[in-house]
Subunit: 352 residues, 2 copies
């Protein structure tokens, strides 16, 4: 079996440390990838800490993977050695159900196989993610990275990017629409760029007056300080869509009241009970909608990379030496990164 | 001013009693209606008891009104004396905003004027509803009752009917769709009939095994006893739409899990905080939607009456002598009516 080097956590308290493990043999439909960059997603931290009670240790996190093809299986038709490619949150799915056949593998009826901490559909093994030097992935779950994209800055597009791009496309955001973006972290700052590139009038909601300038720098046409009751009141009933990227519990009701009739509040960051509770009256009056959206399917994941190349959109990143990963997690938890850490996997060899 | 006889509540505890009051003079765009029938909606009880803290006493409830035109103002073009007509939950709106211009007066940006306990846009007076012998209504808010409909059974179409019909139409329910109907009261039993008439495969959810036969009699293709975990599990991921008519707090999560990906749970009965809270994961996984819907606009209110005439749909009603209204309210609160009380307004003269 091919050997791989990476970083893994072995218990909720252990933090991440160097880890040597086996990758599967190259399958006929596999692409072998030497990983150059891997983004750090808040989900990685949840899995490392076992916040959701489902982690199987050791866990090698990482689902924003950029690398170069080093070999391809005999049946692979779409990639060749040397290609710059990406792998996101999924590495397999049933490929036969209705969502899969529509390119919505994230909603696979049998459940997609997650890039890490997932269970391989063929050998039953637990998948290891992108905090490592190499990975084998079925070619259907590999995307092509356009040459004009900075490969490091492209890594977060595979989760933070597609997670915000997919619902904006699904709901048909276009010129004339007013879109609010709630939260300005890894997801939120991408949401601003996408909504603007799609032609919408973009308003960022922030709790802090101090972030107004930064929101404008990211492309927001307007900024509303959500703790300012007068600003919130003045915006009542004016938004077509809210893209809510906040990953912790928060009150949706003040934002629902800012939606027009038939407006839609889209949750992409929260995986908790919605508390405080939504008032049903805020949905009935105005026929408003509360929706969720999860990453994106493979065709749309390719599309977001191409869209970024066309519209010259990049994620704002801070490059990270993998030896500083545990410290970086603390900074992510404190919201002290603009806006996404990307691990420079070349630093991994210094740990061997 | 024309005199009217009706029933009113004068305080949260008083119950309803005979009440003599003045109606406005006929305006040029008004239709004067002699009321024959008025449905009893749970909302009437909420207003009488001041459950929502907004009742202005005395309150004359009733927003499912059927009657005959007795006179028309000089500018009225759509109605003539003798016509059988209906009036629902609204009697006015701004008529100029975007929702109004699209025939969605229920979402009027200035707020529609409610049939009772609303404020008249011209004279500022409080509106009195249909528990009375006559009413003056702007012709835009009057609908025509097709001759083939039983006028008494048509009364509840103006609230219970349109409330369930409108979202099924808005979301495009059609053959091939699987629709779940939660709750089998005044709204729910109409939801069954409409979803079936639109060609959907209809499943009723009930907590009680004893209601299975009745649900089938109403037209349900299937019945699921919601307290039976095995039945619920077997239905996971299978519904396109849930029409949730339950007017009290209940856990939506077990129902969200029964929706397909891209499925929609539509609240039409609840006007409370959604508790226990919806788990955001149930929206993200499957890109599901939680929506609300409020009655319907005037074109659609006419449409539902015409639809019922075409498809031979009627509300199941129990005729009520208005002198028994307080007792009837107790039965409504206990869920002991199949499925809607309709006041025979001829009984009002016996109270004078």
């Amino acid at each position: 079996m091919p050997q791989a080097n990476g970083y893994a956590a072995h218990s909720p308290q252990s933090g991440l440390a160097p880890f040597r493990f086996e990758r599967r043999e190259l399958r006929p439909d596999d692409v072998a990838i030497a990983i150059d960059y891997c983004g750090v997603c808040h989900t990685d931290i949840h899995f490392v800490q076992d916040d959701w009670g489902m982690t199987q240790y050791p866990v090698v996190p990482g689902h924003e993977i950029i690398g170069r093809v080093t070999a391809v299986g005999s049946e692979v038709t779409g990639f060749r050695p040397g290609d710059t490619v990406g792998v996101g949150c999924m590495v397999d799915s049933c490929r036969e159900c209705e969502p899969c056949s529509r390119g919505l593998e994230q909603y696979c009826l049998e459940g997609p196989v997650l890039t890490y901490n997932g269970q391989d559909r063929r050998d039953g093994g637990i998948t290891y993610g992108g905090y490592s030097d190499s990975i084998m992935v079925n070619e259907h779950f590999v995307v092509r990275v356009p040459e004009t994209l900075d490969p490091a800055a492209a890594a977060p597009l595979l989760c933070a990017g597609i997670t915000t791009y997919s619902p904006l496309r699904h709901y048909g955001v276009k010129p004339g629409h007013k879109v609010g973006v709630i939260g300005m972290g890894g997801l939120g700052h991408m949401g601003i760029k996408f909504a603007r590139a799609l032609g919408a009038e973009v308003t960022v909601f922030t709790r802090s007056e101090s972030k107004v300038g930064e929101a404008q720098r990211q492309g927001a046409h307007h900024v509303i300080v959500s703790t300012d009751a007068a600003q919130m009141r003045a915006a009542a009933g004016s938004f077509d869509y809210m893209l809510d990227t906040v990953p912790v519990q928060h009150d949706l009701n003040p934002y629902l009241e800012l939606l027009r009739y038939d407006g839609t509040h889209i949750l992409v960051g929260l995986v908790e009970p919605v508390e405080p509770p939504v008032h049903a009256g805020n949905l009935l009056f105005g026929r408003r909608v509360l929706a969720g959206s999860l990453i994106g399917g493979m065709p749309e994941t390719q599309e977001v990379l191409d869209f970024c190349a066309t519209h010259d959109i990049a994620c704002d990143i801070e490059m990270l030496d993998i030896r500083n990963i545990n410290e970086a997690y603390e900074r992510v938890k404190r919201g002290e990164v603009k806006y996404r850490f990307v691990i420079d996997m070349a630093t991994l060899k210094d740990t061997q």
